[in-house]
Symmetry: C2
Subunit: 143 residues, 2 copies
């Protein structure tokens, strides 16, 4: 999660909402890709950190699915991102701060009860305060 | 929807699950982008037709949000795609066949009751039989 936080700080310094993440190989523990929220840079409101991690990792590994990988991300994914993580079969997802406004984990878990859905294991609240403080400071700066 | 079906036929002939779509400018009625499911071509399980339409259209228009656009797609979007369509503020979505297995509209509507979510208007069953037959024929061919 420290590596994900570094990415979030990078986003902060580049005027993006500071959300960072990494994707690691669950066997070798090596980092496959580091990324951060790029909505402003890419001029695309769906370019969340998780989407960029998936797009780059599929390309880098030339694989349709990302089995045997683990994602760390500093904020609870929205419903789109939680669904994307399941769609590409990422095994586990650890997130930092909870997002009471846009967080999609609860609704995603409801959806993934459906028989066919790939069930990513999800754990929240990892280094929660560090992740949360970054985002709070960003919005304080904006106001 | 005829244009979307043409894209689905193109996907069919290129060994992709035949789902096609277009994004149009709601004011001029011009087509901004045509696309189809590219999961195999892009080697990326999240490269659904809707995701490609959004990625290309944001880039082409250099806009973070896709207000004043309408999406036509031959199959009911999954939860990821329905959420992505809302995330980029597409005004209206018309889809063809219902997808009882992976369709995410019902669950998405539940989510979008949340106060902050952008509420894309959604209409299903447009040229349903044509859209459905294409997909059924594709899976018959595979078996």
């Amino acid at each position: 999660m420290n590596e994900a936080i570094k990415q979030a700080i990078y986003a902060f310094n580049n005027n993006e909402v500071p959300i960072g993440g990494i994707l690691i190989d669950s066997k070798t523990k090596e980092i496959i890709h580091r990324s951060h929220n790029k909505v402003n840079k890419e001029k695309n409101a769906m370019y969340h950190c998780e989407i960029d991690l998936i797009m780059h990792s599929c390309k880098a590994l030339s694989r349709k699915y990302l089995h045997d990988t683990i994602m760390f991300v500093t904020l609870e994914p929205c419903l789109m991102c939680a669904s994307a993580v399941s769609e590409v079969h990422i095994d586990k997802l650890y997130f930092g701060a909870y997002d009471n406004k846009n967080g999609g984990i609860e609704n995603f878990k409801f959806q993934s009860k459906r028989e066919h859905a790939f069930k990513t294991e999800i754990y929240g609240g990892i280094m929660e305060n560090d992740c949360k403080t970054l985002i709070e400071n960003f919005f304080k700066k904006l106001r």
